[in-house]
Every structure is written in structure tokens, then in C-alpha cells.
Amino acid sequence: MKRQAVLASATALILGLGLGSAQAQEKTLTISVYAFAQDEYKKMLYDPFEAQCGCKLVVETGNSVERLAKMEANKANPVIDMAVISMADALQASRAGLIDAIDTAKLTNFDKLYDIAKDPNGDGMSVGYTFYATSIVYRTDKMQIDSWADLLKPEYASHVAFPNITTNQGPPALFMLGEALGQNTPDLKAAIEAVAERKDDIVTFYVKSSQLVQLMQQEEIWAAPIGRFSWAPFTKLDLPLGWATPKEGQTGGMNVMVLTKGTKNADLALQFMDYWLSTEVQTKLAEALVDSPANSEVVVPDEVADNITYGEETASSLKLIPSAVALDNRDGWLAEWNSKVGQ
């Protein structure tokens, strides 16, 4: 009797294991994301999605260069089902034939997105899930910023930290500077030239925005172009600081979702994307200050809105560098910058 019970339970166990693994094999979604705020994502996105779909999520993280290289290497036999990358990287992946068009009809939340996020590259290969504004943080008691070109005024330039061309904020800031100078060509030549004329005055060409808070506190700088996601620590300084709304508008960047070409889990990946874009998830991520929402139905309290990129008005005022311009000119910008500003 006892022996039979042991046998029976062992059989059940083996069967269960077999079933379990068969099921897991059927429904595993592998995603590739930025290695940031993973605890929050797990709580607000991954765990609830696993519970909902009865599937298993495998999360791979890394910076975009690494992750794109990995996708390229596994092109013939994709490991990743979906990835989140920058807008320009999405175009690069699309040109390299690494991603598939997204069937937005299967995304129930697609219509809720701000227009800017619906098809950022205009090729149907990506959907924006978050974006950020880039503008200028400045000392309201020391200066007045109405235009991007004000940064280079002789009386201001020696109190400005400008983003290096190698940062995410560098090209957008130059893009807007070109706009302000009335010479916004894709090669950013006029803007780089204008910065080069003031390069000895400008305090530094920053690489890490985290450094700026200290420089601002030490009164080393009065102004710097930054991404909205770096804004919160400045508000905690005991200084009169403002977020400029230059007449040329604000710039910024956007991160998008892409679907790997040849994935066997396209439907599950779309289900996951749809869940990520839902008002519920986007609200939670916004409230935790993880990602600014691309879903226009998200409503957050003022203290949250102040710290993220939020609202119809902001979204429609963002002038982003077109991905094709960024991709085709990146090397040229760096060369131009290094020869004019770098030395």
C-alpha cells in the first residue's frame, strides 16, 4: 500500500514535471531591455504579465550596442522575441533586416498612444513606449533663456556645461541650436561651428549628467541642456532653477519596441507589448518615475508630472532628430566635433 502510494506520487511528480516543462517550452517569451529599474519593471510589468499569460518571461539586459550586436549575431536563429531600443537603433535594426513589421491591429492600446509614438520612424517597424524631453536647466536669478542660442551669449557661455557629442543629449541640443541659428542642416555644421567659437568659455562638455548636479551646486555652472529624466535631483537643490521652454521648442529622444524577425512567439510578444502600453502599466511606471508615458490616457498627480515628460502639449512640441538623419550622420558629427571642438 505504502509502496503503491510512493510509486503513484512519483509517477504524478514525473508527469507533472514533464507537463510543466512542456508547457514552459510552449510559452516562453525572451525580451531584451535596458539594464535599468529592473526591480520596478519586475513588480509592475513582468510579474503581472506572467500571471496573466501563464507564460515565462526571460529578461536579457545590457546597453543598446551590446544588445544590437547580439541580435545581429543570432540573426539566423533568434534568441530574443522582442526588444526595446532607441528610435535610431530601431532604424538601424530595420535596415539590417533584424526586425519585422508590427501588426498594430493586434495592439488594443495602440490608439491611445500620442501621435509621436505611434510609428516613430514611419516604417511600421516600431512603436514608442516612452519618450523624454530635452531642454535647458538654468539659474533663473542669473540668466534668461528664451532661445537655445542664448546659451552661447558671451555673458552666459562661461557658465554653461554643454553635452558632449557622444552623449544622448549632445546631438539633440546641437540640432536645436542649429534651429535657433536658422541653419539646421543634417550635418549640424553651423551649430558645431557656433559651439567651437565658444569652446574655451564653456565650462565643460559633459559626459555624465549626474555630474551636473554637483557643478550646479558649486555654482560652477548656471545652465546645461539635460534630459527631463535628470531633472528631479536639481529640484532638490536649494537654488532658483528653472526648466526652459525655448521658442524653438524642446527636443528629446524616444525608446521603442521592436519585434525580432523570425521569432516563433510573435503573438505572445505582441500581447506583451500591448500590456506594456496599457494605461494601467504605463501609469504605474510613470508614478514610479521609471518611464514617461506614451499612452495619452495616463493621468498622474502634479508632483509626478513635474518630474517626467508628460502631457499632450509637451508631446506635440518635441522636435526629435529623425532617425535616418541620426544614423547617416553620426560618424560625420563626431569627426566634425572632434576637429572643431575636441582640440
Binding site: 558632449n164 557622444t166 565650462v203 562638455f205 557643478l215 558649486q218 563626431l334 575636441g342 582640440q343
Partner: protein, 275 residues
């Protein structure tokens, strides 16, 4: 010790294989990148690299700062080390402890402290304005001066420690003997101390020079992109431009410069000795 050489080689073999697999071969592969092209072996990557004015400037700046930091460290190091070895044993131990202490603090923290000290509202500028040397705060941050100060502070302990161990091996009566025989302090240093402690100077000098060439954090934080050095340029080439050929050219240059410094220092030291 060993009955034959074969036995000694056999014992060294595992370590040699390990070093070859995890160090020599990868480094060789990395460096060979700079000499490879679609047509075969070539020096064109080096020609390209040096044809750009920015790269020439960064190369010369790195060399200049390396030499300046090493020279300054040697001057300060000899004085400090000589003072420390002349102390009674207890005090000597405590002083060596103080010299070593900064090495136990992360270079990031040490370098960050300079941002506060050298800032517009920092202690250096406050002192300068107090004594009336300047009316406006002087800009130190993000200049070559800041990088020089940062690197010197970072690597000076290595020079002092090397010179202390060298000076400790100096025969106790060598200096008094020379003085009694009429040598002035300059002659004592040049003819007695320097030749007898040259090993310490070579070790210390190589450590400081190599360290200054290859330091990344200090030039990155205190110099930023306005004061690019080879190391920060290398980082830029890899992470931004994705140009591994240029990066391996820089890596090759850094290795060659380090070895040359060692050989050069050895030459200088032995040349003095022969006279």
C-alpha cells in the same frame, strides 16, 4: 636548486600556459587589429591615426602630462622618502602608513574630492581671493592643471614607497662619509643617493608614468572632453565611434610608451652609474 633546467621549465609550464591563454594571446590579437586590413598587414591605421590633428594633440598631451607628473613625483618623492627613512622606526611606520592610506581609497572618491577643492567656491579659490591674488575665481576644473594635480596625487604614493625601500638599502654611512669628504648636498644626491637608489627610481618612475598614461577616471572627471587623453580617447573610440582599429592603435601606443619609459629610465640610471 633544480637538477636540470627541464625540471624548472616543467614547473613553470602551467603558469606559462595560463598566462599565454588568458593574457598574451588575447593582447596579441587585440594589438594585431591595428595592423590588419583587407589587403593584409599594414601600417595604414597608424598613418590615419596620426594624420588627424586631434589625435596628434591628444598623444602629445598624454606624453607631456605623463612626463610632468613623473618628474614632479620624483622630486617630491625623493624629499619625502629621505625624510621618512631618517625617522625613528615607530614614526617611520606611521608615516609610511599615512603615505599608503590614500591608496586604500577608491580613485573615484579621491578624484571627486578635487572637484570640490578646485571648484569656483572651493578652498583653493577662496584662499587665492582672500590673499588678493585674484578677484575672480580662477578656473581650474576641466583644465590640464586639474588633471596634472589629480594624477600627481593619485600616483605620488607609489613613487614614495619605491624610493623608501630603495633608500633603506642605502648604506647608513654613505651620506655622512660623502659630506665629511667635502661633497655638497647637490653632489651627495647626484653622485651617491641617485646611483644607489636608481632601482627605486626606475620602479617608481615606471609605475607613475604608466599609471598616468593609462588612468581613465582622473582625466575623465577632472579634464573631461576638453582635456582628452589617449585613455579617454580610446574609450570614446570604442563606445561611441565603434572604431576598434583606432582603439587598438591607441592601446598599442600606450603599451609601447610604457615599455619605452621603463627602458629610458633604466638607461638614464645606468648611464649615470658608469661615469
Amino acid at each position: 636548486m633544480f637538477q636540470n633546467r627541464a625540471e624548472a621549465y616543467a614547473l613553470a609550464l602551467p603558469a606559462a600556459i595560463f598566462a599565454a591563454i588568458v593574457f598574451l594571446i588575447p593582447v596579441g590579437l587585440l594589438l594585431s587589429e591595428g595592423f590588419r586590413s583587407a589587403q593584409g598587414w599594414t601600417l595604414s591605421a597608424f598613418v590615419d591615426f596620426f594624420s588627424q590633428p586631434l589625435n596628434q594633440k591628444v598623444f602629445l598631451r598624454t606624453l607631456k602630462l605623463g612626463v610632468m607628473v613623473t618628474a614632479a613625483a620624483a622630486v617630491i618623492g625623493y624629499a619625502t622618502a629621505y625624510a621618512i627613512v631618517s625617522l625613528p622606526p615607530g614614526a617611520k611606520g606611521r608615516m609610511i602608513g599615512l603615505v599608503v592610506l590614500p591608496l586604500m581609497i577608491s580613485p573615484v572618491a579621491r578624484t571627486y574630492a578635487w572637484i570640490v577643492i578646485l571648484g569656483r567656491t572651493g578652498i583653493v579659490n577662496q584662499a587665492l581671493m582672500l590673499v588678493g591674488l585674484t578677484d575672480e575665481p580662477v578656473r581650474f576644473l576641466f583644465t590640464e592643471t586639474a588633471v596634472f594635480i589629480g594624477l600627481l596625487q593619485l600616483f605620488l604614493p607609489l613613487m614614495i614607497i619605491s624610493l623608501i625601500s630603495a633608500l633603506e638599502n642605502l648604506p647608513k654611512d654613505a651620506v655622512p662619509a660623502a659630506r665629511i669628504l667635502g661633497a655638497n648636498w647637490f653632489q651627495v644626491f647626484w653622485k651617491i643617493i641617485l646611483p644607489l637608489t636608481r632601482e627605486g627610481l626606475i620602479v617608481g618612475g615606471t609605475l607613475v608614468f604608466t599609471g598616468s598614461l593609462t588612468a581613465y577616471i582622473t582625466p575623465a572627471i577632472l579634464g573631461g572632453s576638453k582635456v582628452l587623453m589617449l585613455e579617454t580617447l580610446l574609450y570614446q573610440q570604442v563606445t561611441v565611434a565603434n572604431n576598434f582599429v583606432a582603439a587598438s592603435v591607441i592601446a598599442f601606443l600606450l603599451i609601447v610608451m610604457s615599455f619605452s619609459a621603463n627602458i629610458l629610465l633604466r638607461r638614464i640610471a645606468t648611464a649615470r652609474n658608469r661615469k
